[in-house]
């Protein structure tokens, strides 16, 4: 399967989950309730009813989005440079992103079930996973860009090939 077909299938899956969410009955206060005394401030309302109305659809939605992001990033590397090590990196990087997302979501579900959460690094545990983990899981791809720049993104021979193309075009323009 080509990358673009994989991207297309993932987009259709995301669209399907979105359609399911659109059709699910929205419980009252699902998007927050106005605070009883403070103007302009909303509170959570019954979070549990929202989650139960949607089942695990949000979890799978984000799984598909993470895979879509990975598939799109993979498209940015020239097909003839996609070797086994690159595939391994993408598998590990996306695996890490999915692990982080699972920690965020299951931690949130645990909070909904118990109403309690420990504080770690200044925030409730699922929030810490979100703030640093969700951000960090794609910082891994940013770092890979820096480290593997000359191997996958702009190898010296590609740079030379581009310079040759520019020279070729300039000489053609001068000839005209």
């Amino acid at each position: 399967m080509k990358s673009i077909h994989f991207v297309f299938v993932l987009l259709l899956i995301i669209a399907g989950i979105t359609a399911y969410i659109f059709m699910a009955e929205q419980p009252p206060g699902a998007t927050g309730l106005q605070h009883t005394s403070i103007n302009g401030l909303s509170v959570g309302g019954d979070r549990g009813s929202q989650v139960s109305a949607l089942g695990n659809a949000p979890y799978y939605f984000q799984v598909a989005v993470i895979l879509l992001a990975g598939a799109m990033l993979y498209m940015g590397i020239a097909p003839h440079r996609r070797d086994a090590q690159l595939k391994l990196f993408f598998a590990v990087g996306l695996g890490f992103a999915l692990f982080v997302w699972t920690m965020v979501y299951t931690g949130y579900e645990a909070y909904l079930a118990t109403g309690e959460s420990n504080i770690a690094f200044g925030f409730p545990v699922p929030t810490t996973w979100m703030l640093w983990g969700i951000w960090g899981s794609f910082v891994v791809f940013d770092l890979f860009y820096v480290v593997a720049f000359r191997r996958y993104f702009l190898p010296k021979e590609d740079e030379a090939a581009f310079d040759a193309l520019v020279r070729e075009i300039k000489s053609e323009q001068e000839a005209l």
Binding site: T18, L41, L73, M75, V104, G122, W129, Y145
Partner: protein, 494 residues
Amino acid sequence: MEEFRQPIILAFVALYMGICIWVGIWAMRRTKSASDFFVAGRGLGPVVVSLAVFSSTLSGFGFVGGPGLVYATGLSSIWMAVCSALGYATGFYLVAKRIRMVAEVRDTMSLPDVVYARYGSEAARLLTAGTILLGVLGYLATQILAMALVLQSILSATEMFADISLLACVVVSSAVLIFYCVTGGILASVYTDLVQGIVMILAGALVVITAANVFEGGFAEASSVLLTNDGADIMPFGTLGVMASLSWYFMFGLGLAGQPHVATKMMMNRNLSDNRVILPMTVFGYLIAAMLWISVGIVMRALVLGDVQLPIGSADQAAPVFLSTYAHPILAGVVFAGLFAAIMSTADGFLNIGAAAVTHDIPKAIRGRSLENELFWARVATIVLSIIAASIALLSDQLVALLGAFGWGTFAAALVPVVIIGLNWKGATARGAIVAISVSLLINFALQIWQVQIPYAMSGGFVSMLTSMILFIGVSLMEKPKPLPRDIDRIMEL
């Protein structure tokens, strides 16, 4: 020092504006052609480009609207910020190299030029330019309004300017913006972005330290206060819930590289290999500056819910009230200058691409060539666009809201498939691009005009972006792609 708070803030803002004017004069001497005006002759170093990319991404929203949203709805909106690492990865994996190569080979000056080079379609170029123009007017109107409101709040706190009107503030703040954009074009824009980026990083770092010290127990105590009062707000999805947060993640994470003011700056670096340095600097700069958004919002919400601070009039006052109550006057001065920096660094980028759309892209799409004496007309267009945007900001709230809808989501929906996917997939077709842009505009307009409420507070921009991506690939897959021009084909092989 407390009695000098307002003069100190004013002095910092005045100093910042003075630097912008100086940069405008400096850049004017170096702007000799339309290429200099629109893409700085593709000769910028990595530090300038990275700060320009990050400061353009984080507008005044990150300094005022963002903390306000966290105050009002908890952490829902933070998904717009934590996706930045993905957003920049998308930009550099998929756009930065190819757009820079196309710019050099085809001597392009704008994103619509790149779209034309890729698809060979004047209709696609025209639609891209039209989308940019609509978005620019909307974004500019909101940024000018924000700039004037902030200036008014600073000046009206002094005795001398207690009754200053909003019109006067629009005129003063726009005059500075117009001056450096008209004189120095993109060169002034990116070098003021350099100053603005540094101010934003400084402001972000100092505010986080201040916010962490408001409660004795730091952010852990603020989190405990929120957990005991509501709880949902300090959890990962805030009070708006999981789907609102995730739809923002999709739109902002995958849509960042489709923002024309960001993508255009990826055409300006001197060397292709500079991208290796630009990406990490951009990610780091954004991270530090965006911490202001998170920390101020959380602390203000905890202060109000914990009965330490009286409720504030509106959510957008969260940052100004925090600064005036808890920040040292010098820090408040730096942050207010940072706020102007954030607003102006986005607005100047928009003015530049808007002027390019009017004087370069639309004439090229309609009559096959851009205007004669392009540099002169680019300067005229910059002034005219600013005046139109300022008039919209002052005269019509409804129009501001309508055009404001042509912001991030519309750019993402219209341009992500066409630019990001199109530059990385040879099978993409002009018809796919035209359908994707047209449908995304229609959906965004319709959602705004009919005030459609999307279930679970999901973003309208997400819906239109998802639809346009599916249509773009679907329509292209149904067609037999035309052979690409030789230069574009070879670039897409690299």
